[in-house]
Symmetry: C2
Subunit: 198 residues, 2 copies
């Protein structure tokens, strides 16, 4: 892909983000996205045949951004890197529209049973997150910053479930990032590290 | 309310359940519900002015059923009663349509930012679940079946977040009840009771 078409593609992804925040998933049309892109619907259809195809590319774009953001979490030991990873996962961006975007993302999750291609992406992302957490926990067992009796695979499943719960609670209950961070920290501090930093 | 109208109301709630499973939340119409009820849309409107009003009654009905089901979880000590409570919360019924219903329930959660009355109900239910878990954990600290260093309020927040995550994972990833039960058991066995029953 040439850099020009990459730029165009990035513009469409940003327009999709804004359109989702403004209209929500259920009501989203190709026209809404074209409007945010400041081009015609025909020009948008030149790039994407269908709304589903565009939204799949959008999921790939989001996951790409996420993977890059959490690639190298900061910290002096694995426990600290795990906490940085969780922070980056909980607060995916500081854009104002975050609450709206979280809502659209939950609508997309609720569509997964009807849209196999959405579910495939969500499963792939889940496996990525689970693997990263498992590696960080295993590294912590190794460097002594996490308890030696912790099973990294089981801990990773618990952490991704807490992350999914945190996302749902932000949308369904209007909970703040600080509120939904608590159970994740509670788990890391009390189960994974025996409260040593409290 | 006379027993006749209670019966009629129960019939409408069952019809709503079936219509939600068949059509999903987004596409649901009063006609769909009337069809499942085997009566006319006019007859349905006699009971409920709007679809939103009917769905609010349906949420109240569901939460009532849930509250009754988890009112007295079985077990010899508080830890066992907590596990029974979690099992009842994870597998709300053995109806075949459960996966479809879980999906409709997640769609309703994703609507909460747009529908204040939905959110109020969800917050109320969350507070109920959190209080029950807190009481069970506190009883476990008291009767010795749960570690003495556990803070019941913090543990309750973690447990409700795991329950929310479990629900989302069933829908978004197609995970089974057995899969999503694991992190809850992992938490109870390893954080709340120090793996004593493993």
């Amino acid at each position: 892909m040439s850099s020009e078409s990459t730029e165009e593609s990035d513009d469409i992804m940003c327009a999709t983000y804004r359109a989702l925040c403004r209209h929500g998933y259920a009501d989203l049309t190709m026209q809404d996205i074209a409007d945010e892109w400041n081009k015609s619907k025909a020009a948008l259809h030149y790039h994407y045949d269908t709304k589903q195809g565009l939204l799949l590319s959008f999921l790939d774009y989001l996951f790409d951004q996420y993977r890059r953001r959490v690639a190298d979490p900061s910290g002096d030991d694995a426990r600290e890197r795990l906490l940085s990873f969780l922070d980056a996962s909980l607060a995916p961006s500081d854009r104002d529209a975050s609450r709206e975007f979280q809502t659209a993302a939950l609508e997309i999750k609720a569509q997964a049973p009807y849209e196999g291609a959405f579910r495939d992406r969500l499963v792939e992302l889940d496996e990525f997150v689970r693997r990263r957490v498992r590696e960080l926990v295993a590294a912590g067992v190794e460097d002594g910053s996490i308890r030696g009796d912790v099973d990294p695979a089981a801990a990773a499943t618990t952490v991704v479930t807490l992350l999914d719960g945190a996302h749902t609670r932000r949308v369904a209950l209007g909970a703040s990032v600080d509120e939904v961070r608590q159970p994740l920290y509670e788990y890391v501090e009390n189960r994974l590290t025996d409260g040593r930093s409290e």
